[in-house]
Each structure stands twice: as structure tokens, then as C-alpha cells.
Amino acid sequence: MDLYEYQGKELFGRYGIPVSEGRLATSAQEARAAAAELGGTVVVKAQVLTGGRGKAGGIKLAETPEDAEAHAGEILGMDIRGHTVTKVWVETASDIEREYYLSLTFDRSAKQPLFMITTQGGVDIEEVAATSPDALVRLHVDPLEGCHPWHARRLVYGAGIEDPSEQKQVAAIVAKLYDTFTGSEAMLCEINPLIVTPDGEVRALDAKVTIDDNALFRHPDLAELRDVDAADPLEALAREKGVTYVRLDGDVGVLGNGAGLTMSTVDVVTFVGGRPADFCDLGGGGDAQGVVDALEVITRDPQVRSIYFNIFGGITRCDEVARGILQALEQMGIELPIVVRLDGTNAEEGRRLLGESGAANVHPEATMLDGARRAVELAAG
């Protein structure tokens, strides 16, 4: 789960990482009030779960509350890379002497947390990594050892930070970032930029935090930060119904059981010339109600022209899937063509049920490949 900047900063603050004071606002009026309360120059920042806010005009300096109101008015409702801005963060503006970059990520490859730091912050870090790789210092932490002062020293000296007070502040932030990362079970904690003010104060000016979804059960305070409004409405509906669903951009609605098989089905639909509308995984179990819920989500997508069920029964029973399809047809009156390929546990019984139903828009196919071809044909016409 990705956190908004303001949520990430609140989390940082809890672990003692210095951030600027700020207020959340969902309207221009609130932004004005926030600016007035904070006093002085403020920054109005679009809260969206994507990068490139600055370039899109989503970050503006305001010298007065009136300015803040005007800027918030422009920013709220903006579309930034497909995300509509519904919230702005109004915070005390910072004078910036230097911009650093500091992050801690979950490195799957090394199976250890990975610190990265550079004094060339404020820009896209992948660009720094590509153009001046030596400027980017990388250091893994053994999870059983934990983060020790030497890690911080290696990062600070490695990055070439020379001022003793800065060294001390950054080293402290390194330790606290590790606490944040492990304490909130994050997959990513990124500070870009980590600024140095003209007074020599070091502060996180942005916050990008991703929490492990699988760990949210033991972080209820973080779990409730999820913003259901921000998600794709179909994905939000799917989450609500417990359906594993990712929206794609085509016209063949794809359902499979198991992540790998479903991904493979999406691929095969593409390879035979089709355009998948979604990835929808019925999961390991897959009872009739699960099928109904999944079809409810998929058929809400107006782009969908055909549906392809690719089921390999193992724990999932094919007869149960067939029952779900028939139940959904009855309840929802689906008229879209539905191609069904059933194999494995109770496949014959499933095929029999579908055959006997006499449903005209259900098209059985014998193999995964044939099913994909048929579904693509049906979507096309």
C-alpha cells in the first residue's frame, strides 16, 4: 500500500525524522485557513500516488493565504498521470541550500534492506544511478544484525557529506529511517529531497512510503490510511468483494484460477491477437459465489466485449465454477459471450452443467489456446 506524502511525513514524524509543519486541505478555503494558521510562505502540494507532480504544476509556492487559496483551487481537481487531485498538503516553505536523496528499500534480490544515498538529490534517482553511478552509495543491512552506527557512517562519509553537524543529523535520520522501515514493515521509505537549509538544518521535504500489504493486519493504524477513493473504481469494488482484479485496457475479460495461470491466460489472449480487459484471479478456492462476485466486477467495465474463463481445477472444482457462471447468468442477465475452458478436478461435471443449461452465450472450449482464440474472435465481432 502506497502512502500519500502527508501520510508518509506523519509516519516519519512519529519516528523522529524532521519534517516541515503542514496541514491537509481538501478545498481551496481549507488551504487558505491552513496557510493562515501556519503563517509565512507556504507550499501547496498535490497529494497523488504518482510521481511528476512538480512538472505537472501540482506544487506551488504561496506567500499569502490568498495565494494559497488560489493555488489550491487550481491544483484540486487536476489530473496528474491519470490521478485526480482531491487533497493538497499545505506546509511551511523551506529555504533550500542543498538537496540530498536517502532511501531504504526492500531488496528482493539480496533479501536485505538496501540504503541508497546521494548528495545529488531532488531529481529522478534512476537518472542519477544511470548518469553518475559513483555518486549513489548503496549499502545493505543484514536483518539479523540490524542498523548500527557504522551503517550511517558509511552512508554519510560515502556520500561525501563533510559538515560535521550535517553528518550527525543525516546519521540520525538514517537510524530513524531504519526504525520506520522495520517498525511499519515498509517495502520502501524514500526521502527525495532530503534538504539542508541555509541554517544547516536537515529535513525530509518529501516522503514516499510503501507498506507491505501482508503486514497491514498488525498495523491497523496504517491499514486505515488506505484511500479507497483514489483507486480505480472497479479495483475498489473488487477489493470490497475480495476479488483479485487488475484493470487492463482491452475488451476480453479474463478470469483464471491462480495468479500464474491467470497471467499466462492474459498473455495468451494477447499473443493470439486480442486485448485483455483485466487480470482476475479466482484464487485457490473459487466457489460459486466467488465466480459471481468476479463476474460482477468484470462486467461493470464497459469496454468488455467477451469473457474468457480459463480454469484448471486442482483444489478449485470445475463443477463449482460452472455453477457460479450459471448463477451469475441468472442473477445478472449477462449477454456477453462467455468462453469457458475447464480442465482438472470435476471438469466433466462442469462441462455437463454448462451444456445442459442451454445458455446460448456460453461457449465451451477444450484447450487454453483454443479458448483464447475463441474469446478474441467473439470480442471482435
Binding site: 534480490s109 533479501k111 536483518p143 487480470f279 484471479d281 484448471f312 487454453m368
Partner: protein
């Protein structure tokens, strides 16, 4: 010979008295696996259709000589169950549980270092050596005994490929689902090394998917360390970046972990990659016939 699970497997099921643990434990037993014990704290002394239940894994090991554990406990308790099995001296642990927090797995992965314990999973379907032993949820009836080793991050996709192999008259030495989480106990490389050393295995199919770089590491390993031919399949060519595709580990992060990158890494080392499960099975047939 097969790998990981075999006729010498003596299985203890952690969570045997739960509905899934019971269902699959008994199913594994009916495939011929020696299911010697179950563990459910507080239910020590009971039994599940003749399988004795213990309060602790250590108790099960002491009384039944269990050497392999299968974990079916809910995600919040799975790490505890893994540590318990490790400390009880279990040699092979298969964790089926989905949803184990990634940080727990980081620590467990580090903790396993130098302990000589094999962990498969979590979030995996387990391991099946057809005709010998089945530990997990893989439906044994799809597969037949043979010479093809099969290792996969996925469950049902593995069944699909196994089914295609069976239809071509091919069988498997062992089918291993290593799991779909970002950090799992055994990687492709770990399992490939076992297939390389296993006399029964003559060819290997590796079924990967988007996310991480374990397929890339496997490609390098296959090139430098393996004499047996390997065919690969990768799922997720059309997956969009930044979206978790069903498995916690199946996600393209930035530009990392794409199916194309994995395919390229494999092909650059002369490893053939099937475009569809069907083609993958056909590539294996070519190997066997060659």
C-alpha cells in the same frame, strides 16, 4: 530418486486439525506420503483419522521421527510455526500459508543461513514426487512419474504445464512450487541444483513470472552449473508496471522484473523459452526425443 519429498519423508502437519490442514494432510497420506503426526497446540493427544496430534513440533519429532513439516497455519502465526519447525530439527519445511509479511521472511531467510534446513514457500503449493510422496496441495492425479523436473513460482500454471506434459506422454520426477512471495525459502537456483544432482531427473522445466530477478539468477546458474537441459516459461508479458498480479511477489517495480527481461536473460544463455504453456510442453518433448 526424486528431490525434497520421497519415500523417506516422514511428515508432520502443523495445523492438521484445521479444515485445510486436515483435507490436504489426508490427501497427501492417500497419495502414499507417510503422514506421521500433526501439531495443534492444546490438542496434543487427539488424532486425525489415526494421525497422532501433538502440542509441539518437538514433541512430534521425538515421538514419530518426523523429518518434514507442512505448515497450514494462518499467516499471523506462520513465522512462529516456521521457527518452531527449524528449532525442532526438521530438515525440510513446506509452508503453504499465503500472506506472510515480507519482513518476517527477510529475518527467517537470514536465520536459516548455515542451519542446513530447506524451506519451500511460503505461499506455495508444495512438492510432489509422483508415486512417492506429496507434500502440499498439488493435485497428484494430473501428474505421472517420469524424468522431467518441474519448478515453478505458480500453482495452477504448473498444473496446466504438467497436464500438457502428461498429454504428450511425459512424466515428472518432482514438481516443486517455490511460492509467489517476494522472499521465499528456496529459490529457482536452489531447486535447479537439486534437479541437477538427482539421477531420476533428465530435463527440467522452470516456470517463472514477473517480479524480482530469480529467473535471471537461474539463467546464469543454468549456463554455468547445469548439464541437464532446461526449458523455461515466463508469465506476465502483458502485466502493467506497479500492479501486484495475484501473487505478492508478482509485480514489476519500476523497470525491474519484467517478463521480457527474464526471457532475454534466459535466451541470451541459450535456454529456450516457450511462448505458451502448450509450446513449452512441446519444447520439452523435443528434448526428450532428441
Amino acid at each position: 530418486m526424486a528431490i525434497l519429498v520421497d519415500t523417506g519423508t516422514r511428515l508432520v502437519v502443523q495445523g492438521l486439525t484445521g479444515s485445510e490442514g486436515r483435507f490436504h494432510g489426508l490427501r497427501n497420506r492417500s497419495h502414499g506420503t507417510q503422514v506421521v503426526a500433526g501439531v495443534t497446540p492444546g490438542k496434543g493427544g487427539q488424532d486425525v483419522e489415526g494421525i497422532p496430534v501433538f502440542d509441539s513440533v518437538a514433541g512430534a519429532v521425538a515421538e514419530t521421527g518426523a523429518n518434514t513439516a507442512m505448515i497450514f497455519v494462518p499467516a499471523p502465526f506462520a513465522a512462529d510455526a516456521m521457527y518452531e519447525a527449524i528449532d525442532a530439527g526438521i530438515g525440510t519445511i513446506v509452508c503453504i500459508t499465503e500472506g506472510v509479511p515480507a519482513h518476517e521472511m527477510l529475518r527467517i531467510h537470514a536465520f536459516l543461513r548455515g542451519r542446513g534446513v530447506t524451506l519451500i514457500g511460503p505461499n506455495c503449493p508444495g512438492a510432489l514426487s509422483p508415486g512417492r510422496a506429496n507434500v502440499g496441495i498439488i493435485p497428484a492425479e494430473i501428474f505421472r512419474e517420469g524424468s522431467v523436473g518441474l519448478v515453478s513460482r505458480s500453482g495452477t500454471l504448473t498444473y496446466q504445464i504438467g497436464h500438457e506434459l502428461t498429454q504428450l506422454g511425459l512424466g515428472n520426477s518432482t514438481i516443486v512450487g517455490i511460492g509467489g512471495d517476494p522472499v521465499v525459502g528456496s529459490s529457482f537456483v536452489d531447486v535447479l541444483a537439486r534437479f541437477e544432482a538427482d539421477p531420476q531427473t533428465e530435463q527440467v522445466v522452470m516456470v517463472g513470472e514477473i517480479g524480482g530477478d530469480e529467473e535471471e539468477k537461474a539463467a546464469a546458474f543454468i549456463e554455468s552449473e547445469m548439464t541437464k537441459p532446461v526449458v523455461a516459461y515466463i508469465a506476465g508479458f502483458t502485466a502493467p508496471p506497479g500492479k501486484t498480479m495475484g501473487h505478492a511477489g508478482a509485480i514489476i517495480s519500476g523497470s525491474e522484473g519484467t517478463a521480457q527481461a527474464k526471457k532475454d536473460a534466459l535466451e541470451a544463455r541459450g535456454i529456450r523459452v516457450g511462448t505458451t504453456p502448450t509450446e513449452t510442453a512441446e519444447l520439452v518433448l523435443q528434448l526428450v526425443s532428441a
